[in-house]
């Protein structure tokens, strides 16, 4: 896609008919969890959308987030969205490496000053920045350098959003989240270990469509995807209400598809879209496969008790503080995204207390 083209012109030049475009918009609206009635608005905005520059930095991570995205199930929509952005730097996906690649990153930052989207996966080691470097540049320095002129940051995955596995006790590298370092830019946390691929694309699609920050919850996550908890959307919920629980993974209750609460399911305190968006071409999600939710989109889920221990026995007790903060309201726009981040810090501090 040429920089001077809008998305509508680009798609027409690629031989995509208006019908194809409308289909793309329906799938994109569904991807962004917008109601079908919003398709016309999405079509109008997308047709006029310009190509945003995206710089993707990977720090202390396992590449699972990028794998999640590149293995995502809807290549037509995903690749169109990817064609529609200019992915100017992603050191896992790009062929270039070393100083040349860094020069390209710096050039893209300069050319798109104030407008590019910075995507980060992985946490940042601050005890000793030398624990993780790229082309001799510490993660800390690279993040600060790339963040200073960006429009907004998308922290992809629980590591970038909340510190994740590298930050698990005893946190040997002093791993922190992006929002612990950058405090003057809007940050959208797309948590999950890994995040659902269409949620990552959905956030990019939101930028592409509306050019704005989506509505965020108290932990800085887009409410379109993280607004409801797994438990509220779980198809096993009727069993929970009736007190019908599987006690082991192979008892009669498990075979009958009863609730997995006693087997450690963290669905009641986990906010994510797995129960409706689902994984693997919409095939299912962990609970549907017979395994409880492990709360992978929640802060410090590694350190809060065993994955197979019932919620009541884990370290989730002060969750009410978090819920209270989440209920405090959603935020829109740059200023409110920053406000949301300070609420996140407060919520996490309360949770630690």
């Amino acid at each position: 896609m040429r920089k001077d083209q809008n998305l509508g012109e680009y798609l027409r030049s690629q031989g995509v008919s208006r019908r194809g475009f409308l289909k793309f918009c329906s799938a994109t609206a569904s991807l962004m969890a917008l109601p079908p009635s919003a398709v016309a608005q999405v079509a109008e905005a997308l047709a006029a959308a310009r190509r945003p520059s995206v710089i993707w930095l990977s720090f202390q991570e396992c590449t699972g987030c990028t794998e999640s995205l590149t293995r995502s199930h809807s290549p037509t929509v995903e690749s169109l969205i990817f064609d529609a952005i200019s992915l100017d730097y992603h050191h896992t996906l790009q062929a270039a490496a070393g100083h040349g690649a860094e020069a390209a990153r710096e050039a893209a930052q300069e050319e798109n000053k104030g407008e590019y989207i910075l995507v980060v996966d992985g946490s940042i080691p601050v005890d000793n920045p030398a624990y993780s470097t790229i082309a001799g540049i510490s993660n800390l320095d690279m993040l600060k350098d790339s963040a200073k002129d960006c429009f907004a940051i998308v922290s992809v995955g629980t590591c970038a959003a909340f510190g994740g596995l590298p930050g698990a006790a005893p946190n040997p590298t002093g791993a922190v989240a992006v929002s612990d370092i950058i405090t003057d830019k809007p940050i959208i946390n797309v948590s999950g270990c890994p995040p659902i691929p269409v949620v990552i694309t959905g956030v990019l699609a939101h930028f592409l469509t509306f050019g704005t920050i989506p509505e965020l919850d108290a932990l800085g996550r887009p409410t379109a995807f993280f607004g409801q908890n797994i438990h509220d959307r779980c198809y096993r919920r009727p069993f929970y209400e009736r007190g019908e629980f599987a006690e082991t993974f192979d008892d009669e209750g498990a075979r009958k598809g009863w609730c997995l609460y006693k087997l450690g399911c963290k669905g009641p305190i986990t906010y994510n879209a797995c129960a409706t968006v689902k994984w693997n071409q919409g095939m299912g999600f962990p609970i549907q496969a017979g395994h409880g939710c492990i709360a992978c989109s929640e802060p410090r889920f590694w350190d809060k008790g065993g994955f197979y221990d019932a919620l009541s026995t884990g370290d989730w007790g002060t969750r009410e503080a978090l819920l209270g903060a989440a209920g405090a309201g959603a935020a829109l726009g740059v200023a409110s995204a920053i406000r949301a981040r300070s609420r996140k810090k407060k919520a996490m501090a309360e949770e630690e207390a």
Partner: protein, 131 residues
Amino acid sequence: MSSLDTIPVTTEVATGNVEPLLHEIRHALKRLAGGEQGTTIDLKSLPLAPGEEERIEATLGTGEVRAEVDALGPTLIRETSYPGVWLITHKNADNAVVARFIEVTYIPELLRSQPEDIDAGIDRLESELRT
């Protein structure tokens, strides 16, 4: 039958969402018949247990019209046995489902020829006739 099918797992799960959805369709159909606008329901928007989507499909049945649109991968459009209730399945080029909708309308928008495509067609036909 794969060996997985031989494992004796049965689910007796029901979310209770199937009936309300069918009622939603009934209400939408009445509104349409009364001269109001059509309704689109995103099947991904509410929790359904394994097998419930199939139950909805089976209840709605198959009607007189089936169409396949070939644009960015196939889209299957089927009128159900209830006229005015259409099941729309968007697939990508790899034949994987990307979105499913129930549309309550006289004719799904995607079946209509689009003005932009008609204009492009006129250009093509004119240039064809010039050569």
